[in-house]
Each structure stands twice: as C-alpha cells, then as structure tokens.
Symmetry: D2
Subunit: 141 residues, 4 copies
Amino acid sequence: MAEETWFDSYVRVRYQETDQMGVVYHANYLVWFEVGRTELIRQLGFSYQRFEGLGFMLPVTEAHASYKKAARYDDELIIRTKIARLEGVRLVFAYEIIRQNDGELLASGETHHIWTSLSLKPVRLERQQPELYAMLKQYES
Amino acid sequence: MAEETWFDSYVRVRYQETDQMGVVYHANYLVWFEVGRTELIRQLGFSYQRFEGLGFMLPVTEAHASYKKAARYDDELIIRTKIARLEGVRLVFAYEIIRQNDGELLASGETHHIWTSLSLKPVRLERQQPELYAMLKQYES
Amino acid sequence: MAEETWFDSYVRVRYQETDQMGVVYHANYLVWFEVGRTELIRQLGFSYQRFEGLGFMLPVTEAHASYKKAARYDDELIIRTKIARLEGVRLVFAYEIIRQNDGELLASGETHHIWTSLSLKPVRLERQQPELYAMLKQYES
Amino acid sequence: MAEETWFDSYVRVRYQETDQMGVVYHANYLVWFEVGRTELIRQLGFSYQRFEGLGFMLPVTEAHASYKKAARYDDELIIRTKIARLEGVRLVFAYEIIRQNDGELLASGETHHIWTSLSLKPVRLERQQPELYAMLKQYES
C-alpha cells in the first residue's frame, strides 16, 4: 500500500545543473522536487496548471533537502514523490532522488505548501474544492 | 558623447553560475544582460517594474552573445549596457561584460525586444507613451 | 536526406523556467539547446561526457536565439538539433524548439563551439581524433 | 556580541529569479544563501576560492529554507549570514533574508556542510588547517 503512494518521474542531469565542484549544484534538487510534484499531480489526472485555472496556487512555505551522494552530468535520475500530509490549508510532499543505473539514493527532501488564492491569500481546499481534496487525501501516506 | 551612452552595473559571479568546466555557464550571460538593462532603465530614472505597471512588457525577441574569455567564480564584473536602437515597436540593447580587475572584455551581445501589452500584443511606444519614448530615444547610440 | 540530419529530444517546461511575464524566461532556451546537442551526440553513439574523458571540451563561443512564440509552463517541447558546420577547431549546432501539441515553431537558434583541451586551449579535432571527426562530419548539413 | 556574528551581503532580485506566480521562485533563496556564505568568508579575510586552492571543498549536505513573505522582482534584499556551528568535519551556516526598504524578514534557513578534499572525501579541518579552524570557530554563534 505504502509502496503505491510514491509516484515516479524522470530527469537527466543537464550540464547547466553542474557547478565547478563537478557535481550538481544543490539548489537544483529543489527544481527536481517541483518536477516530481507536477508529475504526481498529472498522474492523478489533474494538473498544476489547472489548479491555477481554478484560482488556486500552491506556494512553498518550507523546503528541506538532505544530500547523500552527488548527482553528476548526464546521470539519469528517478524522482519519487508522495503526498506526505494534507490538512487544512497545508500540503506536504516528500521526495527521493534515485540514480537510475544503480538504484542509489542520492537525496531526499520535503516541501511544505499552502493553498492560496491567486493573490496569495490562504484558502481551505476542503471547503472550496471538496472533491479535489478528497481525491488527494486518499493518496496521503 | 558615445562614452556617456553606456551604463554600468556590477555583479560578482556566483558559485551557482559555474559549471563543471570550471567557468561560468554560457546562458548566465543573458541573465547579466537582463541585470544590465534593468539598471540602465533605473539610471534613467525609470524602472522596468513601472513599465509593467503602465501596462507594457518588453519581451526578448532575439538574443546574441559572443564569448571571448571565461568568467570564473567570484570574479567581479562590469556589465556595460546601451540602447543601440529604438524605433516603432522595437528596442535593441547592446552589452559588454568586462572583468573588473584587469578590464578584460569577456563577452559582448545584444538583445532585441518588442514593446507589448500585458497580454503580449505589440504596441507602439511612441504613440502610447510619447514622453517615455522621447526620453529613451535621446540615449540611443 | 536533410530531414535525417535533425535529431530530436524532448523536454517539458518546468515552473522554475517561467518568469513573472507568465512565459518561459528567454535564457532557458539556451539550456534546452544544450539538452539538444547532448542528445544529438548520444544518438550518434557517443557522449559529451566521453569527450571530456578523452581530454576535449566544447565551450560555446557564440549563442543566438530567435524567439517567435512563448513557451509556457508544462508545455511539451521538441528540441530539434543538427550539426550545421564542422571545420578546423569549430563546430556549429542549429536548433529549433517546437511545441509538441500543435507543431508550432517557438524559437530557433545556433551555438558556435570550439574544440579545446581540458585547459581550454583550442585543438584541431580532425588531427587528434580523425575518426570522431569523420563520423561527425557526415552529419553536417 | 551576538550582533557582531551576523554578516550582511546584498542582492537585488533579478527578473530571471521570478516565476509565473509573480514572485521569486523558491529555489533561488538557496542561491542567495550561497552568496551570503561566500561574502561571510570574504569578510573574514578569506575566500571560498582559496579553500579550493588549499585543497578543500565545502559541499552542502543539508539545506533548509522557511518562506514567510514573497520577494519580488527588483526588491533589494539583505542576506544575513552567520556560522551557527563548526565542529569536526561539519559547518552549519544560518541565514535570514530581509527586505531592505522595510526591514521585513522574508525567509530564513540553514545549510549544513562538510569539509572535503577535492575528491569529495571528508576531512577534519581542525587537524589540517588548525589556524583557519580557530579563526572560524571564534565567529560561531
């Protein structure tokens, strides 16, 4: 069950993402986390674009990343994403970045979000979009 | 006279801007060009933010960069910017990136822009904002 | 014949790549060009990583981009890349960025490169790696 | 005393750093944190570049950011940085991002680092560079 709540997406490391240490610059993992949650939402049959169309945004209120091994140029990576918590105005995603060729865990992390209006005021998703809330809620794990 | 038409701004190279070649990743020069034209507009007593407040945007239609020597981490750079052409819906900026400690020219370039509405439709600045147009026009060189 | 000399790769626009104009920030097209030439080299059975392993680098000496229509968040794009010129120390790639759902051409461009040693001194590929040179040369178009 | 342990550096928000939400994309705060610690090291009379010259690197092992208010295009920001912990192979920096015109705290965060050799093996700074270690240690707070 817990297995099924992770959603996978894929990226290949771009030269632009490396730095003079010869490895990926650490801030880029947050960008991959964003790719992961975008893809999770798509795999649920929705799209983040549609959230904005409905008048919602989902800004990041906290971001955490823990770096274990370095990703390098041209590595193929799996971004594993799950909904770690959904309640009230808050949504937390958890992530793992896996190197595809050997399954090594390179990094993990979390991002915390709040549901807001287009003018960035917090809103309670469960009231305004109860069906969407319920759909997301069942994938919380 | 020609001297006076260049406007200077300053950046220091960030670690994030380097790549595994040990030098600055080439696309970042376009970001510095943006810093340069923002600063030029500010030095003219205006702001790009205010353009958007007035209902104008200035998207890039062409960008050119020529790379001569590599900028490196922590280098202090001068971004020299001028208005190379202003006519109808079009505005062209020219740029030079100079290494501050020895005056070496590292790169040069141009960006071409069109004036648009907030919905990205082309507009003629000289009709809609004749004073702004006249002000910018006198710095064309 | 000319048809066959274009190599395709694919990206989906990341939220990070947008700006407050609501479209993709123009410098990101240069990053996609890099994705395109990396993939071209891979499709030829080589890898840019291996170039560096052999002691070569391929820094950019000029970059040009022409923007026709805006790419937006979550758009699926095709990056078409070809070898436009190979001679002496120089290599020129040409690119087209196509929106996948309607085939619209969003941007085109070129990057010019020189073959260098790892210490960034120009080298003649055809002397040092004649087979690699010959292989690439047949795809010039 | 505690006052003196914060080191200030300054950035102005670039258009490139915004996203289609109209505010700064969250991953850019990590880049500003890097600007902050680079500047802290410089204000101590050293430079991160020199660390690498001495054979050390300081990769990030953890990054945390907490976002309170949004930074916007062209905002002038103060990056306040301090050495929060130095012991063994580890170094922790803490950060605050302040909007300059009204003193508002926009974000805070931490990055955890380990001292490594150029081949990314952990090293004990206090053994290999006791004077540098002692100098940094006195600013821990």
